[in-house]
């Protein structure tokens, strides 16, 4: 068995999976067929629903991959052949010639500057920009290595020119390179080949043949500051700013004629994002969204689409598009459409049209499936082994993650990537850490004495236009350059990219710097990246300081450029003042207790527990109910597989019970959680009130969700027996035979009951539509003569199977559409037999409809489980505005809490179906077992220390410390000729967390907090105020 893994595809899925795999103890070969990793995410301008700059959150991960000694990056390589089986594959990889020696290329770009001006469209810019024949796909590419296009290069095609070879000082050009085969032995394969957006395949009615009709991915490049138009929204035909921009939803998706039967899933939300960003770019632009259903199913997505309308004035029309034509005179577009609210056919004139065209599996998927010997599904995505494990392909040892398995957004992709890593770890458990090497910094840490004069370097980031547009960056640079000890200061487009890391190292070395500052975004996401860069340049990581001029200046003072600039200057000045006093610090290692606590015994909790246990770690599973299974206990048939939920439930419970590494506590409650990553003390109370104490190294939260009971709405009041919720229906269908339907002939299902509201529950709960559709069909099977009516607002059938699932079942019912301004009215008719009168305004027909019904089924949203606040307090983790747990980062850390060592999965994070809960559970287990596998972690150098010359042994700090890290010890003090026995405080560095409460409490100032000491904070205060008030006095 081999302790190494092949990851195919260097997008965010492959990147995340590779990083997690190395932490779990496996060597990774990351193969990417294009010249850089980054994938589609690198092409995006921003990411929904937070509008975080996409490259800014991705680039640190790309750099991490590049730096990881256990990832061998094989860009511009392709997989040719595999043999062998799970655990022992042999693969052949084709290394395509770059005509540049990547070990020599420094990425300086001299070659491209001098290369004769023959240009072709750049694929990274979706062919909207141009590149030379020697090029790098984008400035932040990883690896930062150029390559030659052999079809365009004059030297390679005609034997003339050769300029690049002459100008390349690194002597990296090699026209003689040939394709090469490489053979590798590996234990497992991960397929993460992603998607593409081939708008050119659409039929002509969508108008993609016209210049000013672009695909959404092309539009991302147009919006992007580093894109072909420098972040100005211009239309391709005349480079004029378009005034009216039309966004066309479902442009080919959900469309059998276009050969794309499924919903591409992410378009509704990214369109809201693109419209919002457009409005931010240019206030006078008008954005119109031609929508079908709104399928904004993820965390805070629906609210985001509402914000686009309410805060940004984006107009949404519910339509069907007939045709898009061009006015040849103006190159404007005429959209011919049916207004579904009025039934009228209308024309709309737009200056630019953005098509949300279908997202399909990457080109080459068929060939790769053949090479690997794995199956594809009917949509040409890779087929999962079973509904319950979408991460496993049809062949053992080959795993799937990300969009290549089916449409999904970035957080789902990231969760899957961690899940795959975890499943690989289960498969290759016996060969963990056999091929791993430790990271060593090439440059030895240089000694920096506090007595030495500080030499500070400062980098001010434009962050594309995120900072540059609202803060005068050159002005900041000029001001900072004037400060004493600032030896070097420069601006930069993206400080987080890999070329910038090289630049930082260069600047540190050239100027012999001993302190470094980056002014960009938040240290909460980017500090580690820059610290490692400093370390690589031989600088202790605590000699780095970060300033947040994006979240605290450009983004919150968008209309006050002068004030935002002045504030940025002040903040950097304060950091410079602190930097002068920074001291190098040391870190210590801490042992991790190799066991885990999983809170919640539903499907997510059980899956997570099993995964950790199968990696050989002891796992404690705590459940408040008297049985395992959570909500699945109440479910009948599962969609879309049409299989009884109890089959899977019984299987997994059996596995959990049999696993010797899992200890189950039923009807038990967490009484206390103390400690920190690697070392938690847990107290669980069982139903006999017996307390069980144990220790774990890590914790997974899988507390699930529950169905909202819509008391008081639509005649649901506990008295009316024939008004039930969807979950109550499931239970009836599961537990009873069809006899209860004997007197029922007409059924009405109401969707979006109390969800997607203006106030209260504002979100779309993701799973209700599919459940309702499933049950309609089951009811019809039991009693075919039933008349069923569905009252819906939008049908949420995202993901690959659900559109077909709905298409096959829509004949089972009549679908009437209502909206928030026309809530259906229900009255109970007089008489002993329950019977209801329903009045609804159908927005499709624009008509009020009245009918009678015998049974009403209400689809209510999933809400968080009870008593989460108490648990959240115990764990010290946050809860979001909807009451679900709040992850560390909605895009790239969906399974982590900001607190190290605690993870989450399943409906505790957000309503989701069983399949997604299981893959998230694998992911959370993977994230957790990284620590358990590592056995040790480094503690932070940010801890407190006592100055024995000052400590008077009063013990105030001992009382204050929340971690009991301080004790009073007997010690001796020399006083003239006397040896005195005294008490003094001593801080245990393994227990100290560096909060600094002791330092603020100490009456004699004997305790200092490293990196946040009295003088360091003091000079920041002075730096800001002294100068200002001085100028006041002069007035």
């Amino acid at each position: 068995m081999e302790g190494s893994v092949l990851v195919i595809g260097g997008g965010i899925a492959g990147i995340q999976c590779s990083l997690d795999l190395t932490e779990l103890g496996y060597k990774v070969f990351l193969v990417e067929r294009t010249p850089s990793i980054g994938g589609r995410m690198a092409q995006l301008d921003k990411t929904f629903p937070t509008n975080d700059c996409s490259l800014c959150i991705l680039a640190p991960k790309m750099v991490e991959v590049f730096r990881n000694p256990n990832i061998e990056l094989l860009t511009y390589h392709e997989v040719k052949e595999i043999t062998g089986a799970a655990g022992d594959f042999t693969i052949t990889i084709l290394k395509k010639p770059r005509y540049i020696d990547e070990t020599k290329c420094k990425g300086c770009g001299d070659c491209a500057t001098k290369c004769p001006k023959i240009e072709v469209p750049n694929l990274f810019d979706m062919n909207l920009g141009k590149r030379k024949s020697i090029y790098i796909p984008f400035p932040q590419a990883v690896p930062p290595v150029y390559l030659i296009d052999p079809k365009l290069c004059l030297k390679l095609t005609k034997g003339v020119c050769g300029v690049c070879e002459k100008v390349c000082e690194a002597e990296a050009i090699d026209y003689e390179q040939k394709p090469q085969d490489i053979q590798l032995n590996i234990g497992a394969i991960v397929v993460a080949t992603g998607f593409e957006m081939p708008a050119e395949k659409l039929s002509l009615r969508w108008g993609y043949q016209y210049e000013n009709v672009v695909s959404a991915l092309e539009y991302e490049r147009i919006l992007c500051a580093s894109g072909p138009f420098g972040g100005h929204v211009l239309r391709p035909s005349d480079h004029e700013e378009p005034e009216k921009i039309a966004f066309i939803q479902c442009a080919g998706s959900r469309d059998l004629h276009e050969g794309v039967p499924y919903c591409s899933s992410v378009c509704c939300t990214y369109t809201a994002k693109e419209a919002i960003i457009t409005k931010e770019h240019s206030e006078k632009s008008e954005c119109y969204v031609f929508r079908h259903d709104i399928r904004a199913y993820g965390k805070n997505f629906y609210e985001f689409t509402q914000r686009a309308q309410q805060e940004y004035g984006v107009k949404y029309y519910q339509t069907k598009i007939s045709q898009i034509r061009e006015d040849p005179e103006t190159n404007d577009l005429l959209i011919h459409y049916e207004d579904l609210k009025t039934g009228e056919f209308k024309d709309f004139k737009a200056n630019l049209v953005v098509l949300a065209s279908p997202l399909v599996a990457s080109r080459g998927t068929n060939e790769l499936a053949e090479i690997l010997g794995i199956e594809l599904d009917q949509y040409n995505f890779f087929k999962e082994r079973s509904y319950f494990n979408k991460l496993q392909s049809s062949k053992d040892g080959i795993f799937l993650c990300g969009f290549c398995q089916g449409p999904m957004d970035i957080p789902e992709t990231v969760a899957d990537a961690s899940g795959v890593a975890s499943q690989v770890a289960t498969l290759l458990n016996s060969v963990k850490f056999t091929q791993i090497k430790e990271k060593e910094f090439e440059e030895p840490e240089k000694e920096v004495k506090t007595s030495e004069e500080s030499r500070i370097g400062v980098l001010i980031c434009h962050c594309g236009i995120n900072i540059g547009k609202y803060v005068d960056v050159p002005d900041v640079v000029e001001e900072i350059k004037k400060l004493p000890n600032v030896v070097h200061c420069e601006a930069n487009l993206y400080s987080c990219s890999s070329d910038s890391q090289e630049r930082i190292k260069e600047v540190i070395k050239e100027n012999d710097l001993n302190r470094f500052i980056v002014a960009s975004c938040t240290p909460r996401t980017h500090e580690t990246l820059f610290q490692v860069t400093c370390q690589e340049a031989g600088l202790n990581k605590y000699l780095f300081e970060m300033v947040n001029i994006r979240d605290q200046c450009s983004w919150v003072h968008m209309t006050e450029r002068e004030a935002a600039t002045e504030k940025s200057i002040d903040l950097v000045k304060m950091a410079v003042a602190k930097a002068r006093l920074l001291k190098p610090q040391k870190e210590e290692t801490l042992n991790i207790i190799p066991s885990a606590l999983v809170i919640g015994g539903g499907v997510a909790g059980m899956s997570a527990a099993l995964n950790i246990a199968e990696q050989g770690f002891e796992t404690y599973l705590v459940e408040t109910e008297n049985k395992l299974g959570g909500i699945l206990n109440y479910l009948n048939i599962l969609s879309p597989i049409q299989e009884k939920g109890s089959i899977f439930l019984n299987e997994i419970i059996e596995k959990v019970k049999k696993n010797k590494n899992i200890k189950i506590f039923l009807e038990s409650k967490l009484e206390n959680i103390k400690g920190y990553i690697g070392n938690y003390d847990i107290a669980v109370g069982d139903k006999e009130k017996v307390i069980h104490d144990f220790k774990v190294g890590t914790i997974i939260v899988a507390t699930g969700g529950k169905e909202l009971k819509p008391n008081g709405l639509f005649q649901y009041n506990g008295k009316n027996q024939n008004v039930i919720t969807q979950l109550e229906l499931e239970q009836k269908l599961k537990d009873q035979n069809g006899a209860w339907l004997k007197n029922i002939n007409r059924i009405t299902t109401i969707l979006c009951v109390n969800s997607r509201q203006k106030e209260g529950i504002t979100y779309c709960s993701n799973i209700c539509c599919a459940t309702a559709i499933k049950n309609i069909n089951i009811l019809k099977e039991i009693k075919p003569e039933l008349e069923i009516t569905v009252l819906y607002r939008d049908l949420q059938m995202a993901k690959k199977e659900f559109e077909d699932y709905y298409r096959q079942r829509r004949k089972d019912a009549i679908f009437l559409r209502y909206d928030l301004t026309n809530i259906p009215e229900i009255t109970r008719k007089r008489g002993a037999r329950e019977n209801y009168e329903i009045k609804v305004f159908d927005t499709n027909l624009q008509e009020e409809i009245e009918f009678q019904t015998d049974l009403i089924i209400l689809s209510t949203p999933m809400i968080p489980a009870d008593n989460l606040e108490e648990l959240a307090k115990m764990l010290k983790v946050p809860i979001d505005k909807n009451g679900f747990f709040l992850e560390a980062h909605v895009k790239l850390r969906p399974l982590d809490f900001a607190t190290d060592g605690i993870f989450l999965c399943g409906c505790a994070q957000w309503p989701k179906n069983i399949q997604d809960s299981i893959s998230q559970a694998s992911g959370a287990a993977g994230r957790a077992s990284r620590f358990l596998s590592a056995k040790q972690i480094k503690t932070s150098g940010l801890i407190s220390e006592v100055n024995p010359d000052k400590c008077i042994g009063c013990g105030k700090c001992v009382e204050t410390c929340p971690y009991n890290a301080i004790e009073l010890l007997d010690t001796k003090m020399e006083f003239e000729d006397l040896d005195l026995n005294i008490k003094q405080s001593y801080i245990n560095s393994a227990l100290c967390k560096g909060c600094g409460t002791c330092a603020a409490t100490c009456p004699v100032g004997a305790i200092s907090v490293k990196h946040y000491d009295f003088d360091q904070i003091g000079v920041m205060i002075d730096s800001y105020l002294l100068e200002k008030t001085k100028s006041l006095e002069e007035l």
Partner: protein, 144 residues
């Protein structure tokens, strides 16, 4: 007449405000305000500390001595402290600071404020800053 002049002064007055934010809740709340593009007045300068419990009363005095017009200390809500109970000490210490020192110094007590802002309260962070800034504007500049 004098009243009108002081009114004009107040409107032109741009106060200097220092904010201490704990890393885990309030600084994250400020980040969320940024990510959500919640706009607030540009008069504040944030100093990040790991816990509001780190904020030594001496820092507040130093700021006031240097003529900060306002000082805001912000940490996790009581019970949510990342360091279990650090913010409880902040609260207790703040009361002492408030009662004894601020009053003895003769500084208007409204100039120093303690607010809890969690990591998910971006909107609230923007509001706290907006409200505090206008309160300080109302008070006018701190004179010695």
């Amino acid at each position: 007449m004098t009243k009108a002049v002081s009114q004009v002064e107040k409107e032109d007055f741009e106060p200097y405000i220092l904010v201490f934010c704990c890393n885990w809740c309030s600084y994250a709340g400020a980040d969320l305000a940024g990510v959500s593009r919640f706009q607030y007045p540009p008069n504040v300068r944030i100093i990040r500390v790991m816990c509001s419990g780190r904020v030594d009363p001496a820092f507040v005095l130093r700021a006031l001595k240097n003529r900060a017009d306002g000082v805001l200390i912000s940490g996790c809500h009581i019970g949510d402290c990342h360091y279990i109970s650090g913010n409880e000490y902040t609260r207790d210490r703040f009361e002492r600071l408030y009662n004894i020192i601020i009053k003895q110094l003769g500084v208007n007590e409204k100039r120093v404020k303690l607010e809890w802002v969690s990591a998910s309260e971006g909107k609230r962070f923007a509001k706290v800053i907006t409200d505090f800034t206008s309160e300080i504007k109302e008070l006018g500049p701190l004179r010695k």
